[in-house]
Symmetry: C2
Subunit: 441 residues, 2 copies
């Protein structure tokens, strides 16, 4: 009765014991200090991040880094190992010979993959003596995850939420507050940079870049050194924490005897894509698999498909170091798309490098195409996906339709990075205006 | 590292194969036809429900009823077996010697236990020739579940949503529409009863009783007989469908070698409480366990603790049959509490009978007490619970604090009937006004 190839038997004991640090295999371009244009040192980064985060960010030698037991326990508490599920009903609807699987990062209590790094960063900050942690959040997924994690490890947290999301997604703010976080809309009047932006344009809706500047400013200006900053994507150490996704996935696919032809993830700053894909890319680099990797971004924020590969700041206010990455420019202000988690001007340097050397591919879709994929997935598999994750769904569906045209039994795996239960404003707007809410086949 | 007694290994193969029909063990008071005050017949109910629902509603002879394979497959698709989890962090916070477990009905894609009956009813209606299904919904949990289920089995669905919830929870409406359902606020202008209510008071916020009248009216007035009505709680067959919860729970507790001292559920119409408790009550009736059962209701809607045990209508418009039950009167209009799913004037007759003969106990808590329990649970276990389910959490916490006073290592199991991600308005209001958001210990 129940087909087995969409179910694995992994348990909490199978939660990975190490993170995979792909920088040790492919190298990572130096991060530059904009004042000197020389590579940053650990001392340069010390006012911003806690010591362990700095060490991990600059580590290009250790291929694997132990996951501390308290972090693994928190992973277990909050739902890891996450399921790998086969999308039988989506396959049937598409009438495709392709097999479609998805990794369910939506099952975390904060609704996305973001907890994987939030738990690690909260743990290290607590251990390294931080008392207050600052951060930015776009759609609110990262802020929710860090609030829960800081509550779990007993740390104070201050979150700068991009104002356009703050207003579009008021319930995300309530979630952060329920977990005990303090939330400001960014630009805010509580930092010098925020004040300067508001002075120019009081109605400015903000960007992740602006929120990052505010959060970093608040950390570095604390004379006690007990306030540190935490980043939810883009940085190498954040991407490394996310590799629990891809490692679990490989164990699950090995158990089910699957080798994917295609792996698809959405991409903003790069962390969910990196965590999902890097462990399999490692296999590909060693010649063990021939999987292709597809990153899907919004046409409104096309950092890979339309950006330039060069050094740029990580924030709008130019107070972060400079990263070699695909960028739309640190002053780029995207439209207020509902996939707020993907509204970032740059891209993780390792992902950028892998895209530049053609290890991974990228494609972009517009908001209508994304919500069509979202509704198609909701009506077939029952799960309401995040608009961000729906980029991956659209990418996977297009590959499945290609397989249908070619009559090839391809295996496609995508990362369902989060659910969309707090994105119903976007769904409501889409349903109101669109006569064909599903992808037609 | 990972304690084992909060984890079980049940898989889709362990999804129950039969529902438990407690009416065959304890009998059920006759349902009366108000026109004749004689017991209803299957023919009386035929214009309202599909044939199988009628048969199941009146069945007091079969102790177990087979779950059809397509229903079990849908249960598997949508996340059954649901986890049984131990609330270690809540226990630590309360400093109680009690062990607290919770059954996670929140993991369903529609966020509550309601799918258990929605899937069954959609399947039977499709099989019995129904083309359009009507229903009521309070908080929107039932409407979401029935929309997804009707989409799954290819049926049209029309939902009357209590107006106060329609306005308080606009995103629930979008979820139903995402799944393809049609939603009207109740009272609505599309039924005679709705029109009559609106004529008296255009601003009336509605009740479940009003919405039921509208949905039943639309079904019985279809001359083709292809429109039927579906109920989300209160009826015996709905409670029976929910017994998958309690049966799984018993298998999980047997595996972990646990016998609960207390089982706690929230209660509105009675279906989640019944599904959770009836299978263990069966064990108690056979003298196998000495578990106590606690139903928790809102002080604003105290049907068990303040209601009368007598025959009453199931709806406000007096077009349903009469049920022997604890009732606040079919014209009772509760305040607009955030636990919209518990705003019902009556109570399932079997639960009523078990309460009347003291097999189960009941207690009520007010909204502040409920949200304190909700925030306490969110900050310890990481999961944001539905306001409805938070009644069960409050009940479980009070029992755990009693156990602490007596220094007794009691085992307490509660049903987490749903998550609260779509109830953040209630959380936001509470956090704004409450200086002590957690239960202090």
């Amino acid at each position: 009765m129940f087909p087995k190839d969409g179910r694995t038997t992994l348990t909490v004991d199978d939660i990975p014991k190490k993170w995979y640090n792909i920088a040790a295999d492919i190298g990572s371009p130096e991060i530059l200090n904009p004042a000197t244009m020389k590579p940053v040192t650990a001392a340069d980064l010390a006012p911003v991040f806690c010591k362990t985060s700095v060490d991990q960010e600059l580590d290009t030698t250790h291929r694997f880094i132990d996951i501390p037991d308290p972090v693994r326990e928190a992973y277990a508490q909050f739902g890891r190992v996450t399921p790998l599920q086969r999308a039988y009903h989506l396959e049937q609807y598409l009438k495709t010979p392709a097999k479609i699987y998805f990794k369910r990062e939506d099952v975390s209590p904060t609704g996305s993959h973001k907890l994987n790094s939030a738990i690690a960063q909260a743990y290290y900050n607590k251990r390294d003596g931080t008392e207050h942690l600052t951060t930015e959040t776009g759609a609110g997924q990262w802020g929710s995850a860090l609030s829960l994690s800081c509550n779990y490890f007993d740390l104070d947290v201050i979150i700068f939420m991009v104002k356009v999301s703050f207003e579009q997604k008021p319930f995300r703010r309530s979630i952060m507050e329920t977990y005990g976080g303090t939330v400001y809309p960014s630009p805010s009047p509580v930092t010098e940079y925020g004040k300067s932006v508001l002075a120019k344009d009081p109605a400015y809706g903000g960007t992740l870049g602006t929120a990052i500047t505010e959060a970093v400013e608040m950390a570095v200006k604390d004379p006690t050194g007990k306030t540190k900053y935490s980043l939810g994507s883009v940085a190498n150490h954040v991407c490394m924490h996310q590799t629990v996704i891809g490692q679990e996935l490989i164990a699950q696919m090995d158990e089910l005897d699957i080798i994917p032809d295609h792996m698809v993830g959405c991409i903003g700053g790069g962390s969910n894509f990196a965590g999902f894909a890097f462990p399999m890319i490692e296999r590909k680099l060693r010649g063990k698999v021939d999987t292709s990797f597809l990153a899907v971004e919004p046409t409104e924020v096309p950092s890979l498909t339309k950006g330039e590969y060069r050094y740029d700041f990580g924030d709008s206010g130019c107070i972060t170091p400079m990263f070699k990455m695909y960028t739309l420019g640190h002053d780029f202000t995207p439209n207020a798309v509902h996939a707020g988690g993907l509204r970032y001007h740059g891209m993780n340097p390792l992902v950028s490098e892998l895209y530049h050397n053609k290890t991974i591919n990228a494609v972009s879709y517009n908001e209508t195409q994304i919500f069509q994929a979202a509704v198609t997935f909701a009506r077939t598999e029952g799960i309401i996906p995040a608009p961000e994750s729906s980029h991956a769904i659209r990418g996977a569906i297009e590959l499945a339709l290609d397989a249908k045209k070619m009559n090839e039994e391809k295996t496609i795996v995508f990362n369902l990075s989060g659910h969309g239960l707090l994105d119903m404003v976007g769904y409501a707007n889409f349903l109101k205006t669109c006569n064909h809410p599903m992808i037609e086949v």
